[in-house]
Symmetry: C2
Subunit: 315 residues, 2 copies
């Protein structure tokens, strides 16, 4: 049996996990992401944490297959990151740099893509060869699996679906610099934005008017309890999400659409809300695609990162 590490590098914390080659997660821990000094400390910190783990647990270096790492930005097929705003990084070859620091072979990929690989391997997409994971969190992430492998795209940017334009008549600028992208409506922050707009433009009484600051969860909770304003907000959201997912599926025609991220905690309420709008908008042959909720939560990234290493170094 061999072993390896999966690393999920986020803007606030780095998640690390130790796996065996069967895919059993044997241990996991976190360290802070130090973004000061253009993120120069990030990879040395990760290397030090892995070395310390190996030392403490008396792991033979020969038993370590390698490291997989997910990064919040586009990563090309040679392991080069093209700008990670959250980390302060510009262009950097993560595979070479982390391999030099640790002495182990390293494979890197975009974090949303690797989360999809993790879900396909050990989560909500098990048994499925072609799927898309749509992560509805603070922002929107997307990851595409084709024939059981991550589809990275030519510039490491396949699945950047949050940037798709959903409403070309939007006046408000999104933080990404465009107007009307999917992230502006279908993320957790997008739902709060839809809610605030609705409450400003309508007189409907609502429990939401007393909640400060308003959250995505509060909107779902109020909707479930029959609050008419919350229900109207959620219908508007379902319509936008249904159209967004139809646009994605009209390109990819996957076996399965897996919804993850904070918004997906709404579970079957979410799936039942979005499906009628999806079916209205999508090409007829794709109408009955499976929808499901992601299963690995915050661990999807480390699972996928280690699976990428496994696919690369264990043929």
């Amino acid at each position: 049996m061999k072993y390896g590490f999966g690393v999920d590098l986020g803007g606030t914390t780095v998640k690390l996990a130790y796996f065996d080659t069967n895919g059993s997660l044997l241990d996991k821990w976190e360290i802070p992401t130090v973004t000061a000094n253009a993120g120069a400390q990030i990879l040395p910190d990760i290397a030090a944490s892995i070395h310390s783990y190996i030392h403490t647990h008396r792991i033979q270096k020969e038993a370590v297959l390698g490291i997989g790492i997910g990064v919040p930005g586009p990563v090309d097929s040679k392991g080069t990151v093209n700008r990670c705003v959250n980390l302060g990084w510009d262009s950097l070859n993560v595979e070479h740099a982390l391999s030099a620091l640790t002495g182990f072979p390293v494979r890197a990929g975009n974090d949303a893509n690797l989360a999809a690989l993790g879900e396909c391997w050990k989560g909500g997409g098990q048994g499925c060869e072609n799927m898309v994971l749509v992560t509805l969190g603070t922002g929107i992430g997307g990851g595409i699996i084709i024939n059981g492998s991550v589809f990275f795209g030519a510039h490491g940017s396949a699945g950047e679906i949050g940037h798709m334009i959903l409403n070309r008549n939007e006046q408000e600028l999104h933080t990404s610099g465009v107007r009307g992208c999917a992230e502006q409506y279908c993320s957790a922050t997008g739902i709060v934005r839809l809610a605030n707009r609705y409450l400003e433009n309508n007189d409907t009484p609502s429990v939401l008017r007393n909640i400060h600051p308003l959250t995505c969860k509060a909107v779902f909770d109020a909707g479930n309890r029959g609050d008419p304003a919350a229900q109207a907000i959620l219908e508007a959201f379902y319509e936008l999400l249904g159209e967004f997912l139809a646009n994605v599926c009209n390109v990819l025609d996957p076996e399965l659409v897996l919804l993850g991220g904070g918004v997906s905690k709404a579970g079957s309420t979410l799936l039942e809300g979005v499906r009628p709008y999806f079916r209205q908008k999508v090409f007829h042959a794709i109408k009955d695609v499976d929808f499901s909720i992601a299963a690995l939560g915050n661990d999807a990234g480390v699972y996928g990162a280690f699976k990428l290493a496994l696919q690369s170094f264990c043929k």
Copy 2:
């Protein structure tokens, strides 16, 4: 050397071609598509045409590797068509049916997908492993190539990008039954529709007002000659097309976007018109994706159909 047939089945004519395994198109011809009687005669007519060709040219049956056929509808991985409105077909296994009629092995795929494979093999996408062909004709077709092979999708409907919603505020219903899909704006008929709308809603003098019926080519010609109304119509079209292609590329991140179909005859005018809008809307890492014009014209389908047979029967 072995040989084979590529068949491109359209709503009006069937294009047939005879190839060698190097991909040289040795001969080509057409027969009419007889859609009467729910299209029952279509496959027998194709089989008879192939038998007659083999007989006339004294081809040894042993020298025939097989037949590839492109069909204007979704085809699943087992060769089953799921409804072809243009042909009158409901559900039908094209591979089994045509193989039984000809005695040769048959592989079938969606026509737009196979056109992409043809362009990738012998046309504007040579040397490229990951590309998308966007056919802007009477309608819009899309075909996706991943690692040099057609990406069919789980229901044979990958690349059905003409159905993506581009303007959710559109009031007019498209023939497909949805409102605001890309085909409603970015096809040749879409451009004429944009032109008619513009001319109705503006007083700008224009040579286009004297052309009945108005055509896509007339709009491009007038634009090239400096007609201000035509130029305004084309700018509106470029913006819509740029956003549409950005949405597609934000999913797929291809090496190359190849534009085909009648609209692509505008050549570099089209490429230069659309690029600035594309760059405005697409994710930053994808901005510099290559754009080019398809090279095989009406032959793309037979090339791709034969290539599919070659990939399947000549390992």
